[in-house]
Subunit: 453 residues, 2 copies
């Protein structure tokens, strides 16, 4: 069996599936699911296998349904900016098809060439433009899904507004294939962005960044499209690994990549520059470099996007995607940074994130399996009482389910169980993801990471 | 008993409730619900009683839970732009509290002074700024709700991104109180809009408007905030009723009120004017008036918002809020307009709507009860095969449930029933709304409209 159908990027060790199917359309998916019902077999659904939480890793004896052949862009409405697509199309395919018709698909993330829009929907993916366009949830107008009994629910709405009861989209978006298998989607396209204005600023105190962000939001409105912060430690390591000179002294404690775009055909330079001049005057930032050429802009982003090189350099690594309010972030990083330095003194612990989306990434490495566990324990436990989340964008999968209760209330988890019971009483669809269906745990695959990438 | 607790604006005749409660906090709501469970009583939930679908009208013997005393704005985070509020606060209260803290709550609609944010959420309200800010669903970050057994589910997240399984928000938003009673919400505030640029354009052919809208979206990006079309017949009637001179000849077949706003502190005049000049050149519009003063702008909106006067003048009236793709709208209005003129020749039939939101309003009047039924039949039946919706923003309530199957697939309706069964097996919460729970119909109140306003 092709190894690529067994492990995703989480490093969770796979069980041995009984079958691997690669259907080409919804009816084939439904037929497989109906047969699994008759034969009482469990199903693992797979998209682009780029996940970081072990959601696509099969358990022993699972029937694997891999959607890579369901990759057709079926229809693009160039007038309204709506696309009908099979769930296995890659994000990049969708972005390119939108561009060919004069529109833009706004979701964007590093794995764009491999990840699939069905998987993006199942995990409610975020990425680098959430501050302006929202998450995948905001980009999906309708879904078609196959339920645990093989029924096909078609809710391929293409309307912006629809107030006729429960919206089936939300049963399937973000639920990681546990309530149904997304087979097709209608996607909402956006007008292409205008000319981009990009800046790199530094700050000596993290506490100044929420004020900076607030000021930018109020000054730039919807023109603001990125606010990506990085610790000086991250920049110091990323610069040589990516071959980029940092736009400001890497020794500064905090760096932020800021991007704005005005309406198409109109630059937001003036507003961004004025807002940053004010921020400098107010003492919120210490230094500021503006990208005056496309090459500058690319260099700024290259530094920010050198995460794969950083992960490889520090491997084995833990890569977390927690979330919390802006005002909790500085204190959280102090507390967790100190605890990690004590518990894993030989590893580096790097913070970066999308502040406007409440999303903080932590990269720790090198750490062995025990160290990974220690990082998880420290980072997730410190979220308690901070109104945060253990996953802002990667999903819970198999890896994070022991920590779900730290940021979801008992009532929320009980509600999830109740929905699972209503939709898939035999626990056949993606069992053992998000929470343990049977409360006895899912032991058919090793939920401890194997050897992280 | 206070008559205002019996009927909303739908004109559906009320049954006689056994009790009317006006709790002040979540615990009181939960206690009432638990008692109803023990005593096997049905519950009708009431917000601001501004609904048009009969959702708030109690059946005989119902326990009414009216939320008007749960109207506290509990917390405003002026840094991040997040508000925690009880469900019974009016929309206007929320808008004003946001403004006091330098932010804006973007949802806006005519009933702002009476409608409550809990009701806005329960029906996923839209309004006049959806094209830029989305519906209520996009403005709610978290909810707290009381389930049918009295359990309180607290999911008052204040995060933009959270990928940890099913999101409880979506069980309660848009489900009209059938799955739980929303008691508190966290709301996402927006930066105040910049200076507004407002135009009134006319077109001789409706078919030109989708092209006009597409061009504006691509030219203005997120600056576009309103695209409100009205038939010449509506404008001709609204002008004398509202005491406004139409900015262009009322005899033109189609009028559109267009509004844009740039970033705060920056006018979008230049882009809007350039885009409209292009549209004129391309022959998409025939005439164009720009609001050069605040008084002009107010006069434009006064005309558009004279719907209450039109409804009163034509009463008894049918007021529908259907939706469909842009490209279906012209053909639909021709077909339905002709059928209505034949079936109800003595009534006026006026079309207007929010094209960017796929939302078409139809006002027909005067029509008697039989005429109302005829309008519903004609208008809803013609939606078949058009990928539309019988309600874009008012909800289904009691009035529209016979037509739900016309724009929701059997699979979607079955899914709703399954969720209702899982969440409220005794059919105690807002029974008889959206669909008939027991398939035998809900006969405890007269679902035919009484005497519409």
């Amino acid at each position: 069996m092709d190894a690529r159908f067994l492990n995703d990027w989480s490093g969770v060790a796979a069980g041995t599936p009984s079958e691997v199917h690669r259907p080409t359309n919804t009816d084939e998916v439904a037929a497989i699911v109906r047969r699994c019902q008759v034969q009482n077999q469990r199903i693992t659904v797979q998209g682009g296998m780029t996940g970081l939480a072990g959601g696509a890793v099969p358990g022993d004896g699972d029937v694997v349904i891999n959607l890579e052949r369901m990759n057709r862009v079926e229809e693009v409405d160039a007038l309204e900016g709506v696309m009908l697509v099979q769930a296995g199309a890659t994000l990049q395919q969708v972005q390119e098809a939108a561009a060919q018709h004069g529109w833009m698909f706004p979701l964007d993330l590093g794995a764009r060439g491999s990840c699939q829009v069905g998987g993006n929907a199942a995990t409610n993916a975020g990425g680098i433009r959430v501050i302006r366009y929202g998450t995948m949830r905001d980009a999906v107008l309708g879904v078609e899904a196959v339920l645990a009994d093989g029924t096909v629910v078609s809710s391929l709405s293409r309307l912006v507004k629809n107030s006729t009861g429960f919206d089936p989209r939300f049963l399937f978006i973000g639920t990681e294939g546990t309530l149904g298998i997304i087979t097709r989607l209608t996607l909402r396209l956006q007008p292409p962005m205008g000319e981009l204005s990009t800046a790199w600023v530094t700050a000596s105190r993290f506490e100044a960044l929420p004020e900076l962000l607030r000021g930018l939001k109020l000054r730039l409105g919807p023109s603001l499209c990125a606010f990506e912060f990085m610790s000086g430690a991250f920049v110091s390591l990323a610069a040589p690994l990516s071959g980029q000179e940092p736009p400001a002294a890497a020794s500064m404690p905090w760096h932020v990549l800021i991007e704005a775009s005005g309406a198409p055909n109109r630059s937001a330079d003036e507003e961004l520059h004025a807002a940053l001049a004010d921020a400098m005057e107010a003492g919120h930032i210490d230094d500021c470099a503006l990208a005056s050429t496309i090459a500058h802009r690319q260099a700024f982003w290259r530094l920010r996007e050198s995460i794969p090189e950083v992960l490889t350099h520090l491997k084995p690594t833990a890569a977390l995607d927690i979330g919390m309010p802006w005002t909790q972030t500085a204190d959280y990083m102090k507390e967790v940074g100190a605890a990690l330095a004590l518990a894993q003194p030989d590893a580096q612990h790097l913070f970066l994130g999308h502040l406007g989306d409440h999303n903080l990434h932590l990269i720790s490495g090198p750490v062995d399996a025990q160290g990974l566990h220690a990082v998880d324990e420290i980072a997730y436990r410190a979220l308690r009482g901070r109104h945060g989340t253990i996953s802002a964008e990667h999903g819970v999968g198999r890896l994070k389910k022991p920590y779900l209760h730290m940021t979801r209330s008992p009532g929320e988890i009980e509600l999830m169980r109740r929905l699972k019971q209503a939709m898939d009483p035999a626990q056949r669809l993606n069992p053992g993801r998000i929470f343990d269906d049977d409360k006895n745990g899912d032991t058919r695959c090793n939920a401890e990471p194997r050897s992280p990438p």
